[in-house]
């Protein structure tokens, strides 16, 4: 769903939920929690907008692997956390890494949702893209372009990372597939012999 929603709408949604008009606002005030126009709000809005990138990477991988490995671990008495750490995580690590990189790329450039929630408090709740906007609106073009080039530089680093992860992840997959094929042919040749010698 977050894919289909404009980030600005997502931002407004958080203002409605945690802002002054919300019934939650007095509770937040009592506990001295600032969400809107503060860092938690920015994080929430960014997470809401960027998480679909991780799920989109993970869901197909997890669906294709099925749940039998996890079930096998369950029948051997492993706890939920052990299963996740020792069985699920190693199987999804490449997809997860790729998703995190995509997610951070999107988070770096996120403007709409954060712009609504942050309140543009310089030095406190400003992100790089928001800062560029402020500088640009102040006709401070040189500074705006300088900040923009920082952003571009970060984007390039992420792009390189992404390609690295994709490259290594693919390579391992290809190796696994090749090993699979080799073993299939080996199956025909040596499988019978092995059973014979072992029984």
């Amino acid at each position: 769903m977050p894919f289909a929603i404009s980030p600005v709408v997502a931002g407004l949604f958080f203002i409605m939920l945690f802002g002054r008009m919300s019934p939650l606002y007095p509770i937040l005030q009592e506990n001295n929690l600032a969400v809107v126009f503060a860092v938690p709000g920015i994080i929430l809005a960014t997470v809401f907008v960027t998480f679909p990138f991780i799920t989109r990477e993970l869901v197909p991988v997890m669906e294709s692997q099925g749940r039998s490995e996890e079930e096998a671990a369950t029948t051997m008495g492993a706890s939920g956390w052990t299963i996740f750490r020792r069985v699920t995580l190693p199987n999804i690590k490449w997809a997860l890494g790729y998703g995190i990189i995509l997610c951070s790329a999107r988070a770096l450039g996120e403007f709409g949702a954060v712009s609504v929630v942050s309140g543009h408090i310089r030095g406190k709740t400003n992100t790089l893209p928001l800062h560029i906007e402020i500088l640009y609106n102040e006709y401070n073009f040189t500074a705006a372009f300088a900040v923009a080039s920082v952003l571009v530089f970060l984007a390039i680093i992420i792009l390189i990372l992404r390609n690295l992860v994709e490259h290594y992840g693919k390579e391992i997959e290809v190796e696994e597939m090749a090993a699979d094929e080799i073993s299939e042919t080996a199956n025909l040749k040596e499988g019978a012999a092995n059973v014979g010698s072992s029984s």
Partner: protein, 354 residues
Amino acid sequence: MLEVQVKNISKNFGNFKASDNVSFDIERGKLIGLLGPSGSGKTTILRMIAGLETPDSGEIFIGGKKVNDLPPGKRGIGFLFQSYALFKHMTVFENIAFGLKVQKKSDEEIKSRVEELAELIGLKNFTRRYPLQLSGGQRQRVAFARALAPNPELLLLDEPFAAIDAKVRQELRSWLKNTIHKLGITAIFVTHDQDEAVEVADEIIITNHGRIEQAGVPVEIYQSPKTPFVAKFIGESVQVPDYTIFKGFENHTPCAGILRPEFLEIAASIDEMPQPMPLTTEKGIVKGTYFRGSTIQIDVEVKGQILRGFRGLEKKQINEGDAAFVFIHKIYGFDGDKTKIVENSAKRQESVVI
């Protein structure tokens, strides 16, 4: 001594009845085959015993203890998955050791147990390999060792031979049967292949539409099927809508029946029959002959029905389009949801005379 008791368990997936009031008992040390067509609920029964599915109603006992509320890891079972479900990123050693590590066994204990099992499955020199570097048959044996490692009382196997090519499968069947008997462990395996069930199992439980049709030793199921479904499912059967049209069966009330190839005598001439009985022998036209290695399968059309029988290679060759004589020894007649064995009237008269 009963190892497993299943009492009136039912399980629905939406409107689909996967298990419908299923009950059975399994004795300790027996190797049981759960046999049925796809979607007959056999895997669901196995998964409920393992605790991977929860029954909607009914009780399950393992080793005399009610296990309905126990998680799979506390039921004392080992489960072998159809796709083996080996941990891809762990070596053979780590795979077999997983269950023992979870139980917090000491390193020496784990090492000696894994080595013992690697020896048992004949993969002692393969413990450093990853599952993807093994053949299908080897992977299956690793999965077997992994399920056995924590010393379960009960071993559950879901279609253990489905993903292995035919030649290796044959050898693995006898290996698995011998190993399970040697270990003295109780085991239940699921299969849709009747040859496999007959060959491997001590006892067979036949399921259909979430219900148990018949349970018993393979010979008993083969020779006296209790329900029309079992009669149809076991053996290479041909169903006829009304068996009273055939000679030798006219004196019965019309009803459907099942003919097995081994109940048929097919001859090129009436004199070729072991005991020529022209009054009760049908005449038909050969519609097809199929070489089956040790025998020839012959399809004969008699009174509009295609009947199937086997014929030895040493006998005179019969070709398509030839006339053939068919003597039917017996038929499994349907009687509501039961079956009865109906003998050819000539055989009964014969026995009266002698």
